[in-house]
């Protein structure tokens, strides 16, 4: 098993061109599905070679066409009454029926035409990976959307159309703010309060206060703290947290998400990246993890959750991301708190509107 594999790039490209009918339930999260493919190609170091200039331009435009924009100029005019700012950001797909317009800066609001916080995050990361300068992003609108989406408890809902609120969306809010270099949309103290209240008796993090420690929510909490510049919050129990994360590694070398569960490809990233951020990845048995991922990799491209299952976009991305965290030769290194390559991060810092 040597990387990068042309099979993986081909698998991701195929997913970008068409997803099968049995993935219809991903209609509102196509932006995330595209992110797995684009960032996956980037980890393979194939962004310049596998994505034609035509596709790059068209896809940047398609992403911008999913931006929900205000009906007024936020920098000069007052907010009209009865407007929910929570709608601004990026849609998960074309589902609301808006005409395709990649250059729209202002448009009347449509009932139920909303952004989704995880789609705003994946849209922004893809724009960065594809080399865009973010100049068409309405930062003011997104910042006000985040303000509307933060709950009293400090976490975030995903959309003006009312969704659940948990650690996933708190992470997305932090990632969005970091990319836009603007944290005005987040009440940081409240966000940190939510994170600390979601720490469990196991010294790891749940989706919310009282809930069960989980590898995914632990990544979201740690990555959020890192992006907020507040990793000091976990200092009193950092070693217990590292111990919990390391105990997710099973006898088969893979990682599980909770005690008593079995190994799953994606936790090689969620748990691995958490450890990397905390400085604890050095204690992982990388060779054993690689051996596990050899059983979930597909000859025809991609990874699946377990051995002898069909590959899917999420696990295909997470398998590579997990290997990248382990510094697999041939794969591009990642910036764990944002889940993009260092190459992409470099473009963010040097080539985008609010960082350069």
């Amino acid at each position: 098993m040597l990387f990068p594999r042309t099979e993986d790039t081909r698998y991701f490209k195929f997913g970008l061109s068409l997803l099968p009918h049995y993935l219809t339930e991903y209609d509102t999260s196509r932006m995330a599905m595209a992110f797995y493919a684009i960032s996956g190609i980037d980890i393979c170091g194939a962004t310049a070679t596998a994505i034609s200039e035509r596709n790059r331009t068209d896809w940047v435009n398609w992403i911008y066409a999913q931006q929900v924009v205000p009906s007024w100029n936020m920098e000069s005019d007052e907010t009209p009454k009865d407007v929910s700012c929570a709608v601004f950001g990026f849609r998960g797909s074309t589902s609301s029926g808006r005409p395709h317009n990649p250059h729209q800066t202002c448009s009347e609001s449509w009932h139920h035409d909303t952004s989704h916080i995880a789609m705003t995050y994946t849209a922004l990361t893809m724009l960065v990976i594809l080399g865009d300068d973010l100049s068409r992003v309405n930062r003011e609108a997104i910042v006000s959307a985040l303000k509307c989406c933060q709950t009293e408890a400090g976490s975030f809902i995903a959309s003006a159309d009312g969704t659940e609120s948990d650690m996933r969306f708190l992470f997305a809010a932090c990632a969005i703010s970091y990319i836009l270099n603007d944290f005005r949309g987040i009440n940081k103290a409240l966000a940190i309060k939510y994170i600390t209240e979601s720490k469990t008796y196991e010294s790891a993090f749940a989706q919310g206060p009282g809930e069960e420690s989980h590898g995914g929510s632990t990544y979201c909490a740690i990555a959020a703290l890192s992006l907020l510049g507040r990793l000091d919050v976990v200092e009193p129990y950092r070693i217990s947290l590292i111990e919990w994360l390391l105990k997710r590694q099973q006898e088969d070398g893979g990682f599980a998400g909770r005690p008593g569960k079995v190994s799953d490809t994606c936790y090689s990233f969620w748990v691995g990246a958490s450890l990397e951020i905390l400085g604890g990845f050095q204690y992982v048995d990388s060779a054993a993890n690689r051996k596990f991922l050899e059983t979930t990799i597909s000859e025809r491209g991609g990874f699946s959750k377990h051995a002898d299952a069909t590959p899917d976009p999420l696990h295909s991305y997470m398998g590579l991301a997990g290997l990248s965290i382990a510094q697999e030769p041939g794969l591009q290194p990642l910036y764990p708190p944002l889940n993009i390559t260092l190459r992409a991060l470099n473009h963010l810092k040097n080539g985008t509107k609010w960082w350069r």
């Binding site: 991903y26 196509r30 595209a34 493919a37 435009n61 074309t94 609301s96 009932h111 469990t200 048995d285």
Partner: protein
């Protein structure tokens, strides 16, 4: 559903993908047609029986469309629909899609609209238990249960249900987590007597299944409670040491002891005593290095911290 007749007055809105979309889905024709009408109705803000029926038709093909569920909720309110019947509908969808965020969230919305109703709450617990029969560790089901119990102060039955699940699978970490949630959030709280009983409960479990991480993590959690006296802790430490001796080695037990010894070292003022405890801790690290090979680098690190 005959869309063309029922929605004859509506101009459907197609999705506009542009010239080169990302990750387009090969939607079934029925889905596209239903969505074309939904887009128009949603934009117009229509709440009606026909739109309610339309949401059901779409949910059949895509139960994850959060906007569709939102419009459904708006219709239910506008039509003053029977929300208890709606819960039956949500159950039908939920039993097909156990880990769908939107279905669980919809339940929360509907139950909130109904308000306090002991029959509804009892039915919800039954539904959750039915879900546990399919997957006793379903994260959504557990989160929903915690929400329900907290919102309506419905603490009865919790410990019984937890115990039933632990009898079925003593490694069900979700049930252990809920046990901790129960004792630390119920109105009467966690008394010293409760703590003593819980410690014994954990010891019973680790004697039977020493490599079961869940009761060890639970123990780690409860010994941090202020009601745990030094005597209680010392007695527990002795029990754990005995357990380790009786088995070849118990990794989680040793790690548990290591934590306690480390905090004792930090608190110890007498240098001789400090050295004694430190020697004991180092011995534990060396055994962990020997027995928990996959984490050898970590236990070496812990050893280095003692030097």
């Amino acid at each position: 559903m005959d869309f063309e007749t029922i929605f004859a007055d509506i101009l459907p809105i197609p999705a506009d993908e542009g010239p080169n979309p990302m990750s387009p889905i090969a939607y079934p024709a029925e889905y596209t047609q239903a969505m074309d009408y939904f887009r128009a109705c949603a934009r117009a803000g229509e709440t009606s029986q026909r739109v309610l029926d339309l949401t059901a038709a779409i949910i059949e093909l895509n139960p994850a469309h959060y906007t569709v569920w939102k419009v459904r909720q708006e219709c239910l309110v506008a039509l003053s629909s029977d929300l208890r019947i709606e819960l039956e509908y949500a159950t039908a969808v939920g039993m097909e899609h156990h880990k769908n965020y939107q279905v669980w969230h919809h339940r929360e919305i509907v139950v909130t609209l109904i308000g306090l109703d002991t029959q509804v709450i009892a039915n919800e617990k039954k539904y959750i238990n039915n879900q546990f029969e399919i997957d006793c560790k379903n994260y959504h089901a557990w989160s929903y249960r915690q929400w329900l119990v907290r919102k309506f102060n419905a603490w009865d039955q919790e410990l019984d249900d937890i115990n039933k699940l632990l009898v079925q699978d003593c490694r069900n970490n979700s049930a252990w987590n809920h046990r901790y949630f129960y004792f630390t959030n119920r109105p009467e709280g966690f008394s010293k007597e409760d703590l003593e009983e819980e410690i014994q409960f954990c010891l019973q479990h680790v004697r039977k299944t020493p490599n079961n991480e869940s009761p060890w993590n639970y123990l780690k959690g409860i010994v941090k409670k202020p009601e745990v006296t030094p005597e209680l802790l010392d007695s527990l430490v002795q029990d754990v040491k005995n357990l380790i001796k009786e088995n070849e080695f118990v990794v989680h037990g040793a790690a548990f002891l290591l934590d306690i010894l480390e905090s004792n070292i930090a608190k110890e003022v007498d240098d001789t005593k400090k050295e004694e405890v430190s020697m004991e801790a180092k011995k534990l690290c060396n055994e962990l290095i020997k027995f928990d090979i996959i984490r050898i680098k970590f236990w070496n690190y812990r050893l280095s911290l003692l030097k």
